[in-house]
């Protein structure tokens, strides 16, 4: 089988897994495009932001930054804080993204909540090359976000049907993939650690600042409980 056909096969295998992301990213990407338009930034800028930074929640935060004083250092630091959870995704993907050749840099560059969730919860089909499968999935998710931004920026004014609640598709995706992971007995303690840590982070630090404290709680519990949780 030639390379082109192999990629095609991987793309077909990856696409069904990406459908919830397609839905969510088109809606949220479009919402982002519309908000940027309202902030005075046209299609070129919003698409450039989505393509280069590719970091959903931080991009929404950045709309405010783009309409106040020019302060790139603050933007850089805030971006690190809002995106800090990627540090843990990277640690979790060290093994899976091994030996990916040239594709590796792109896989890392586009590693987002959704791609991380899918890659860590499902096993690629046996007849499809792992590298091609991961690359297809990352590429699809990345394209959805950029495309959604473009659509929102260009057509935002013409969207008249109510998409209210449609963004819940991403919450549903995370919940279902969480349930998928809970099927494996050895994952359960870790899953509960995540829920409890995030609950604590939310209660103690509030909705806006919960992520980094929650990550620290997870890390502490994993380290303290290492002997009991692991071999």
């Amino acid at each position: 089988m030639d390379k082109k056909q192999e990629y095609k096969k991987a793309l077909y295998a990856a696409f069904p897994h990406s459908i919830p992301v397609l839905t969510g990213f088109l809606v949220l990407g479009a919402a982002y495009g519309v908000l940027m338009q309202k902030g005075g930034y046209g299609t070129l800028w919003s698409v450039m932001m989505s393509a280069l930074a590719f970091c959903g929640s931080m991009q929404f935060v950045a709309i405010t930054l783009l309409t106040t004083v020019f302060d790139p250092i603050q933007a850089f630091l805030l971006s690190i804080m809002v995106n800090a959870r990627h540090l843990f995704y990277g640690l979790a993907m060290l093994e899976k993204y091994k030996g990916m050749g040239k594709a590796r840099a792109f896989l890392i560059y586009t590693l987002c909540d959704e791609t991380f969730s899918i890659v860590s919860s499902i096993t690629p089909p046996e007849n499809v090359d792992k590298k091609h499968f991961y690359l297809s999935l990352s590429l699809l998710n990345y394209a959805y976000w950029v495309l959604g931004t473009f659509i929102g920026s260009v057509l935002g004014r013409f969207i008249t049907f109510s998409t209210k609640g449609l963004d819940f598709v991403l919450t549903a995706l995370f919940l279902v993939l969480f349930l998928e992971q809970m099927k494996k007995r050895e994952n359960r303690i870790s899953g509960i650690i995540g829920l409890v840590s995030a609950g604590l982070g939310l209660l103690l630090f509030g909705a806006e600042n919960m992520v980094i404290p929650s990550m620290i709680f997870i890390l502490i519990i994993l380290l303290v409980g290492r002997k009991k949780l692991c071999c």
């Binding site: 093994e95 890392i108 279902v176 993939l177």
Partner: protein
């Protein structure tokens, strides 16, 4: 538009650099040529379920229990998703049904 095009471009680069840094740092710290310390492997393997739990809570962080509709649409949707998933075990079906139920609730019932 308050910033000049050049300023805007610099801002985009600053944000991209920040997010890129969080993504690439683990892979720089533990290059694939040699095996990472056992502790890192253990953490890396334990993190996916924990981070999925965190993401679920993170998505629901804005839900207010004290003001209407008291998180009821979210609760019902979560129960539907869990039930459908335990029943059929089909990822897309669970996500789709939960999302439709949620949309109907926030647009029709609790609007």
């Amino acid at each position: 538009m308050l910033l000049t095009p050049l300023q805007t471009f610099v801002m985009i680069l600053a944000i991209a650099l920040g997010s890129g840094l969080t993504r690439f740092t683990p892979f720089f710290l533990f290059p694939q040529k040699k095996d990472p310390p056992k502790l890192i492997t253990y953490i890396g393997r334990s993190l996916p379920p924990a981070m999925m739990g965190l993401l679920v809570v993170f998505c629901l962080k804005g839900v207010s229990v004290t003001s209407a509709p008291h998180g009821i649409p979210e609760l019902i949707a979560i129960l539907v998703i869990t039930a459908v998933h335990l029943w059929k075990g089909n990822v897309l079906l669970s996500i789709g049904s939960g999302t439709v139920v949620y949309m109907v609730l926030v647009q029709g019932v609790f609007s």
